[in-house]
């Protein structure tokens, strides 16, 4: 999955009825690695030049599914032929289980940059 542009999908996501069972984060982790989500978004979902951060985002599973099926920007569409709604729900659960970043002020090297 690539290059999420989340703002544009928030409103659409809320309109989609729940269609999947709760996600399995352990299976989501396997799928995250197997299907190459990390390639653009990083192993920790931190994002980078090739894709947006997807770790611990405020998007629900339906919103994620909606976006992956019809993404904007540079991300290709992933149809249900290559990844099912349930699998995306599992990936969403894994993304939600990821730890949020520390505050830069709590990381000495970044705190030094902030104070510059």
């Amino acid at each position: 999955m690539k290059r999420f542009f989340l703002l544009s999908v928030f409103s659409a996501a809320t309109l989609i009825p729940a269609m999947c069972q709760n996600g399995d984060p352990a299976n989501g982790k396997k799928l995250f690695l197997r299907d190459g989500c990390y390639e653009c978004h990083g192993y920790a979902g931190q994002g980078g030049a090739a894709g947006a951060r997807i770790a611990a985002i405020g998007l629900n599973a339906q919103g994620l599914i909606r976006y992956v099926r019809a993404p904007g920007g540079q991300m290709p569409a992933y149809t249900d032929k290559v990844i099912t709604d349930q699998e995306l729900t599992d990936i969403h659960a894994y993304l939600q289980s990821m730890a949020k970043a520390k505050q830069p002020k709590d990381i000495p090297l970044l705190n030094a940059l902030e104070k510059k």
Binding site: Y43, A44, A101, A112, K116
Partner: protein
């Protein structure tokens, strides 16, 4: 010059004494050798008398053989010419077609100015010259075989061409078939040596006399260093190199005086028009491509930006603008009403959205605001070739000034200042605070993003950049690698402000450039005592890793940090895109793109080439101390490598 095919024996140079005995031994018949062999197996006796045949062989004059020596080959004169051009170094992988010049450089020329650099691949030689120029601001000479050597070198030449970098390439060749001695020399000779790279060099010549060589060699230097700067090729014929040159003939040869051409500045009327558009703009924005050719280029760009309070969008092709400046990165294409592109090779790409990567075609749409004007100052408009398409899309612009941007900036700045009325000055100054706030927010956002995956393994590229910065920020440092493949983290976290702080990228995105360009740039930094830092992509290094040995052999101090993401990652993402598009096998993109199973041990590789190394490091907490230890090695004048297993980007 005398050009007899069989030169008469020059007895002045004939080695006498021991060498004469050795020559006789070589000429001895087989029977005599057999006799000696038998004698070897006799019981040893004190002071044995020589046998009759041995005595005869040592006292009989040797059969006549032609012996070729000379005190002054033509290549000595070529070295005289080369020395007038002021090269510090010549990079070469040895090749028989330029053996004459090779010998003259190291003996007649004393291996100084230029000093010969031993390279293990011609692609490395060219890319070293490419990186060296970006620090030193002058060309390095490269020697290569006119056929097989040039074939190795060609991709690196194309990179230098697309990156507007002058590389001075001297090729060896045996032009005339009558002088070739063997099948090897026939296979290694070519009718038109430079033809293979003529599409991506600025000029070439194959002189057929030493006088012609002198003139062409000097002309080539001038052409290469006149903007737009590009690689050139001079073919040094092997016969010209190796045949003797008499003192009388040498006295007739002249080496022309080198006078460099000034860079072409823009037409005055056009520059005045550009100044008018910029001063009257409400939100002018500058896109910086390959602007700064010298340290003065950075100062001029700062002056222009501050005069107009125009933000800079830096393409990172050169060290153009200080990254901590409040105008750095504070603008957007869509927000500008006048865009000024300075040495931007593909302005179209900057003013249009990109077609999604998994679609072909030209679906891009203009992203500038309606009515926005576009101005370009571009030396590429003065020099075009057809075959290779690095010139990009046709730019629909409102004012195109065919000129060198840096040379044009002083006039443009003056004209802008003349046109700024008190009213315009108030408007211009009024946007300064807003732009500074955008710049501040950008930096704050970058630091917040760097915190994500801070403790992750593999190591995040943000963490790697921050750990490096922590160790080098108080040193006189130089980043001798690109930013593209590490999400631009050094550009986002470090303070770049000196001309040598950054060398830009490949030019034509030809992978394999990174390691040798870094070594060449680090070599240029060596005499200034700078700490050169190379963030080295793993896929790039594997094209010609022997350049690590060149760095170790020539004691080139540099810190190499492996960005070891264990893949040709850009291609991995592309294949993933294609699989998603084809709706199949998105789990198979690693096939043909991943560099794993087995993982390559880069620390061991560096050690094999004689370089200090540590790693692989996958715990981010181990990175800082390892970098510190490596810098201690670099400060002693040696290269070092830390292998870091990293996040993809």
């Amino acid at each position: 010059m005398a050009r007899s095919k069989k030169i008469s024996v020059d007895r002045r140079g004939f080695l006498k004494g021991a060498a004469a005995g050795a020559a006789a031994l070589v000429a001895r018949p087989e029977a005599a050798k057999a006799q000696d062999a038998a004698e070897v197996h006799r019981p040893a006796t004190p002071n044995p008398l020589p046998g009759a045949k041995q005595t005869a062989s040592e006292t009989t004059p040797p059969p006549h053989v032609d012996v070729w020596t000379t005190d002054r080959p033509g290549s000595d004169f070529m070295v005289d010419v080369i020395k007038t051009l002021g090269f510090e170094y010549v990079a070469a992988n040895p090749g028989s077609a330029f053996r004459g010049i090779h010998e003259s450089l190291i003996n007649y020329g004393g291996n100084q100015a230029p000093e010969l650099l031993t390279c293990l691949h011609e692609e490395s030689s060219i890319a070293m010259a490419h990186g060296y120029y970006k620090i030193e601001g002058k060309p390095m000479m490269v020697m290569a075989h006119g056929t097989v050597g040039l074939q190795h070198a060609s991709m690196a030449i194309y990179n230098a061409y697309a990156d507007r970098v002058p590389v001075y390439l001297l090729l060896g060749n045996i032009q005339d078939g009558a002088w070739r001695r063997s099948d090897v020399e026939w296979a290694h000779s070519v009718q038109d040596a430079a033809a293979m790279v003529r599409d991506y060099t600025k000029w070439d010549d194959s002189p057929v006399s030493l006088g012609g060589f002198a003139e062409s060699a000097v002309r080539a230097y001038k052409i290469a260093t006149t903007p737009p700067m590009e690689p050139i090729v001079i073919v040094a014929d092997a016969v010209l190199q190796e045949e003797p040159l008499t003192d009388a003939d040498r006295a007739k040869l002249q080496i022309p005086k080198l006078t460099l051409a000034s860079a072409p500045a823009g037409d005055y009327g056009a520059v005045k028009e550009a100044a008018k558009m910029l001063v009257n703009a409400e939100s002018p924005t500058i896109i910086a491509g390959r602007v700064a050719r010298t340290p003065e280029g950075i100062q001029l760009l700062v002056q222009l930006a501050e005069t107009l309070q125009a933000p800079i969008i830096d393409k990172h092709f050169r060290m153009n603008f200080p990254t901590a400046h409040p105008l750095y990165g504070a603008g957007s294409i869509g927000g500008a009403d006048v865009l000024l592109g300075l040495e931007v090779p593909d302005m179209w790409q900057n003013t249009h959205s990109q077609t999604p990567v998994n679609k072909m075609g030209m679906e891009s749409k203009r992203i500038t605001k309606p009515g926005a004007k576009v101005i370009t100052i571009y030396a590429g408009d003065l020099f075009s070739k057809s075959n290779y398409q690095d010139f990009g899309r046709y730019d629909e612009v409102d004012l195109a000034i065919a000129a060198d941007a840096q040379a044009t900036l002083p006039i443009l700045i003056d004209e802008c200042r003349k046109l700024i009325t008190p009213e315009r000055k108030a408007v211009i100054q009024g946007r300064a605070a807003k732009l500074a706030e955008v710049s501040r927010r950008n930096r704050e956002r970058d630091i917040e993003q760097a915190a994500w995956a801070w403790d992750a393994s593999p190591v995040s590229t943000a963490r790697m950049a921050a750990e490096l910065w922590n160790q080098i920020k108080t040193e006189d440092w130089s980043l001798v690698s690109d930013l593209t493949f590490v999400s631009n983290w050094p550009g986002r976290l470090w303070d770049f402000d000196k001309p040598y702080h950054f060398i830009g990228g490949h030019g034509a995105y030809g992978v394999g450039y990174g390691a040798p360009a870094a070594v060449g740039a680090a070599l240029a930094n060596k005499k200034y005592g700078r700490i050169s830092v190379n963030i080295q992509c793993d896929g790039d290094l594997n094209y010609a890793p022997g350049v690590l040995w060149t760095a170790a052999h020539h004691r080139i101090p540099m810190l190499n940090i492996m960005h070891n993401n264990r893949a040709y990652h850009q291609e991995l993402m592309y294949v993933e895109d294609m699989a998603a598009r084809a709706r199949r096998g998105v789990d198979r993109a690693k096939i043909g793109t991943a560099i794993e199973d087995p993982n390559i041990d880069y620390a061991m590789m560096a050690k094999a080439y004689g370089m200090f190394s540590e790693g692989p490091i996958d715990n981010p907490n181990d990175l800082g101390p390892a970098i510190k230890r490596a810098i201690e090695v670099v400060k002693k004048g040696e290269p070092a490598m830390i292998d870091v297993v990293t996040q993809p980007r």
